[in-house]
Amino acid sequence: MAELKFVITGTAGVGKTTAICALSDVPPVATDADTTDELSLIKNTTTVAFDFGEVILDDGVRVRIYGTPGQERFRHMWEIIAEGALGLIILVDNSRPDPLQDLMMYIDNFQQLIAETGFVVGVTRCDRSDRVSIDDYYSYLESRELFCPVIEADPRSREDMVALMDALMAMLECA
């Protein structure tokens, strides 16, 4: 069955659950569990299966937005969630030690979805670190012959998340 589904992935703690809250028209479902590792320095809970929100279009059609767990050990969920999706948003935390490496990990793991549909990159916490600039992301993507929007975004801001979705839709329209 074709599902109208988009996926948000990215680093643990980057704000995927928050982003879905910002976009969803219905109370989102979050499968969160208490953090027991170094992530607990940043946050108390983490997504272990998926987050789920819905956008209801004017004609009543429901579009689902799934957030994945961020950590690589939950790769089994990535495969399940990516199945049949129409597009991908990757959120990258710019204040982490090597955000380009982080981005690469998600691009590699969501390779098939990216090749079949399209993706955009949202860069968060640019105010905390400017070691890696937006241009660096573009250079990196270009080196892998990927051309996609890279946009500074705050997952708490509905406006920013809408801008990401808008860019993704535009890219998919012109696929």
């Binding site: 499968t31 208490d34 027991t36 590792d37 272990v48 299966a49 950590q71 050990r73």
Partner: protein, 130 residues
């Protein structure tokens, strides 16, 4: 958090003892895994070689999903998530806020036996280590 880790290592022997008791309590139980609620393996007992790191992450996803589905269906107090297969059973049970206990048994087991052994071990673990 460091203190927590230290405490955990002290409790390692208690954990191992409990898992050993569980696996030896019923013949058909061939492996037990204790993992953190966010998907890290903590301890295991198994009859054969047994890879638990992937299983730990997957049981974490599965338990969270089972608990959410129960809530969505207006059923409170998710007790077990049970996976019944041609070859056997897996029973997942939450232990306090931070842990999950997974019991694996072959198909010869009586389901009631599996659940009660798992429950007893979970309750004992909860009292002794949390």
């Amino acid at each position: 958090m460091l203190a927590e880790k230290e405490e955990n290592s002290i409790k390692r022997s208690v954990v191992d003892q409990n898992l050993k008791e569980l696996i030896s309590s019923v013949d058909s139980i061939y492996a037990v895994v204790l993992s953190s609620i966010d998907g890290h393996p903590i301890a295991r007992q198994a009859q054969d070689n047994f890879e638990d790191s992937k299983l730990a992450a997957m049981t974490s996803s599965c338990l969270a999903l089972g608990e959410k589905i129960a809530m969505e269906a207006n059923q409170n107090g998710c007790d077990f998530v049970i996976i019944q297969n041609q070859d056997g059973f897996l029973a997942l049970k939450r232990v306090g806020r931070k842990l999950v206990l997974t019991t694996l048994a072959d198909k010869s087991i009586n389901m009631g036996m599996l659940l009660s052994a798992t429950r007893q071990a979970a309750e004992k673990l909860y009292q002794e280590i949390t």
